[in-house]
Structures are given as structure tokens and as C-alpha cells.
């Protein structure tokens, strides 16, 4: 375990996906995805809603198991790890879900403290100071006792991000962190994601609908189409790539052809 981790640390690739396939019934959602996530960088996956972005991310964070293919995280092929072993892998992850997934039965403080309370032996005081520090880092102070339903959309995302960061993960996964937010809040959340990613040196796997705004905070961009990665490269590379479907996707987003309400 320690060996694998240290071996993994040396490698510039944090997560490597090879020929990942997954069907639901007769519907082939992932049709052979190949992509690498460089360590300490933001890799953003964009694509039309329903193309399989969430399903892909749920394979990355081991919620779903593929029909075939490899997912290698820090040198460990998680597709062949036992259930008990998965928990160890999951300790590396912080995940921000599309719907936020804050526990609505708990106030903000308890939500953010939850992973520490359940999975560590830290003292009450240590937990409280970690929670305060993390909430401050995401710009959400003085909201400790508010329930998620009492928060605005942007604040919910901040609280969810704080919870995702609380155990100091090395990999941060974000599923459409700005869906449902207005442009100024979208910019603020994007800035926050970039800032925290750099501050903690995280490898970020970001799924987004927000093109081209999200390019500003991305190191690499992948365009997913019909369950495959169709375009991949640095931001500069993909914006000058000549791919008809990708250009149409970008143009469609720019002209607002696809309404935000339809965003998966």
C-alpha cells in the first residue's frame, strides 16, 4: 500500500483510464473511454447533457464498476480491488456531487465535520478548528447552524466543497459545480475551485457544462461525445482543434441553444 502510493506519487499521472466501458441494459453509456489525469492539474470533461459525464465520474470514484476497462489511481487498478480495499482508495477522494448531496438533516457545521467525526479519532476541538478553517477557505463563515435548505445555491456548493476538502484529499472530483448558478456566482465558484486546487496541490477531475467559462480554470480539457473522449488536450490545443462536433457544441452553448434547464 505504502509502496504503491509512493510509486504513484512519483508518476506525473494521477489517474489513468483505459478503454472504460459500461452499459445500462441495452444502453451503452461509456464506449471505451481513454484519458489521463495529470497530477496536480485540473482536467475538465465537457460534453452535452446525457453524454455520460456523471456516469464516468462515478466510475472514477468507484461508486460504479465498469463492464470492462482499467481505472488506475496512484498505481492501483481500482477495478480489481476488493470492497474493503476500495475504502482505502476512497480516502484519497473528495467529491462534489452535482446535486450537492449535503445531508439535509444536519446543519452546515455537522455536514462538514461529518467525515472527520465518522472516520477519524480527532478530538472535538481539533474537528471544530479544522471545520472552521475549511469553511473559511471556501468563504462560508457564520453559517455553521444553517441547514442546507436555508442556503443559497452558491453557498450550498461552498459547503459541499468544504465537506469534500475536509479530509485533505489528494484528488478532487467535481460534477457540474456551477449548474443552476448565475454567471457571477459561476465565476466565483470557478475561482474558488482553482484557488483551492492550487493551494492544496490537488488533482482535479472536473465535469462541466459551462463552456467556455470553465476553460479559464482548466489545464486540460476533454470533450466527451457518445461515451468516448473525442477531443483532448491543453486549453490552447482544444480551442484550436478542428473538430466539427466540438465546435458545434461550443457554438451551441455560446448561442444558448441548449437551455440551462435541460442541463443534466
Amino acid at each position: 500500500m505504502t509502496n504503491a502510493t509512493s510509486a504513484g506519487k512519483a508518476s506525473p499521472i494521477s489517474i489513468s483510464i483505459r478503454d472504460l466501458r459500461r452499459s445500462f441494459g441495452h444502453q451503452e453509456v461509456l464506449r471505451g473511454v481513454n484519458i489521463d489525469f495529470p497530477r496536480g492539474k485540473v482536467t475538465t470533461i465537457v460534453g452535452p447533457s446525457g453524454c455520460g459525464k456523471t456516469v464516468f465520474l462515478k466510475h472514477l470514484n468507484t461508486l460504479l464498476r465498469p463492464d470492462s476497462g482499467k481505472i488506475v489511481i496512484d498505481g492501483i487498478d481500482v477495478t480489481s480491488v476488493s470492497r474493503g480495499g476500495l475504502d482505502a482508495v476512497r480516502e484519497k477522494f473528495g467529491m462534489l456531487f452535482q446535486a450537492g448531496a449535503l445531508f439535509d438533516s444536519m446543519p452546515v457545521f455537522d455536514n462538514v465535520a461529518f467525515p472527520l467525526v465518522e472516520k477519524t479519532r480527532l478530538s472535538r476541538d481539533e474537528i471544530a478548528s479544522r471545520v472552521r478553517e475549511t469553511l473559511a477557505a471556501v468563504g462560508l463563515e457564520g453559517m455553521d447552524d444553517k441547514y442546507p435548505s436555508e442556503l443559497s445555491g452558491g453557498m450550498q456548493k461552498r459547503a459541499a466543497l468544504a465537506r469534500a476538502l475536509i479530509r485533505r484529499p489528494s484528488i478532487l472530483m467535481l460534477d457540474e459545480p456551477t449548474t443552476g448558478l448565475d454567471p457571477s456566482r459561476t465565476r466565483a465558484i470557478h475561482a474558488l475551485v482553482r484557488q483551492t486546487q492550487q493551494r492544496f496541490g490537488l488533482t482535479a477531475a472536473l465535469v462541466s457544462h459551462d463552456v467556455p467559462a470553465v476553460f479559464e480554470i482548466s489545464d486540460h480539457v476533454a470533450f466527451m461525445h457518445e461515451g468516448k473522449i473525442r477531443v483532448y488536450g491543453t486549453v490552447a490545443e482544444v480551442t484550436s482543434a478542428h473538430d466539427e462536433l466540438f465546435e458545434r457544441f461550443l457554438a451551441g452553448k455560446a448561442s444558448g441553444e441548449e437551455s440551462p434547464a435541460a442541463a443534466g
Binding site: R90, F93, M95, F97, G100, A101, F103, D104, E118
Partner: protein
Amino acid sequence: MKMVRSIERLGAWIIDQIETLGNFVFFLFTAVFYIVMPPYKPRLAIRQLRSIGADSSFLILLIGAFTGMVLGLQGYNTLSRFASEGALGSVVALTLVRELGPVLAALMIAARAGSAMAAELGSMQATEQIDALTVMAINPVQYLVSPRILAGLISFPLLTGMFDSIGIIGGYVIGVDLMGAPGSSYMNGISQNLTAHDIMTGLYKSIVFGIVVMWICCYKGYHAQRMATGVSRATTEAVVMSSILILLWDYFLTSVLL
């Protein structure tokens, strides 16, 4: 050709059903496994106990009282035709303890607390809160389902006891105070004719119903579809299926325990 297709489809359907049944049974085994295995989290079960109690106590008292009152009335009416009003206490108590108490209490708890539970878990599923638990390396069945099943196991017998007691009082108020059956033989009849076996029968039933109701309601909520109607459908199905299974199990248990 058409024939082959239909057989194929029937086969697929049967396999589907068996798989669903397998998942359903596996779900309970997993939940029970985590009840038995340490680490124990009594805090979670206590919270569920409190919420089931808070949700259902008033309803149980209300329905229990009325059931007892109706039994007092009907019982008196019937027994007086045979000039055996003295047996009213035994009739009310035996009917409640052996049969109506466990069944009606279970139906009421399913309708009130069970549906709330299915809705709560359903919305946790819909908003990815259950996935969030898994990603945090917390087993959601252990965290969410086991405490609820344990709470059901404890609360059903307690609430059934409440239902029986208030029902017996209700029967007394109507049968004795209002209709004029002899009060001393009401109480004596109960203490002489209500055996430990009767009480155990009621207890076994309420424990089984507790597991069944929590199992169904948790399962339905936990597996709610992620669509607009997913949660409401899970809730409805949970209550309907719980009710049917309560009555099926009641018949089965009665015939075994009689």
C-alpha cells in the same frame, strides 16, 4: 419466431424478478449483519426510535382507543345475547393482544413512520446523499438502514403494547361504564384468560411486522428512482407493500402460532 421472442422476454422477466428478490433479501441480510457486527452505533438507532415514537404514538393511542371502544360495543352487544357479558374483558383483550393490536399498530406505523422513512431515504437517494456516504467510505446500509431496522424491532412491540393497553381501557369505558357490563369480571376475565402464550403470540407478530415494515420501507426508499416521481412512487409502494405483507404474515403466523 414471435413465439420465441415472447419466451425470451418471459425468461428475461423471470430472471429480473429473481434478481430483484435476491437483492431484496440480500438488503435485509446486510442490514442485520451490521446490526450484529461492531462497531455499534446506538446513537443512530435511538434517534430513529425517537422519530418513530414521535411520528406514531398519538396515532396509535387514538386508533387503539377507538378500536377498543368498538370492541366493547360490539362485544357487549353480542355477548349480551348469550347472557355472557362477564366474558367481555377476555374477548376484548384476546382480540386485541392476539390479533388486532399487532396488525393495526403495524399498519398505522407503516402509514405514518414507514412512509416518512421511505420518503426520507428516497430523497437522500435522489439528491446523491447516499452516494456521498459511499464515497466517504461509510457503508450506507450500515449507517442508514441498520439503525432503522433495529428501531423497528424495538418500537413495534412497544407501540403494540400501547395500542393493546389503551384498547383494553377503551373497551372498559364503553362496555362497563357506558353499557353496564360488570366491571370486576371484565378485569378478572382478562387476568384469568389472557395467557403468556397469547402475549407471546402478539409479541412475535409485532417483532416480525417491525422487521417487515422497516425492511420494505427502507428498501423502497433506498432504491427510489432518480426522477421527479421517484420519491412519491417509492413512498406509495412502500406503504402498499408493507400493508399487504403485514396481512400475509399475520395469516401465516396465526396459523403457526395458534
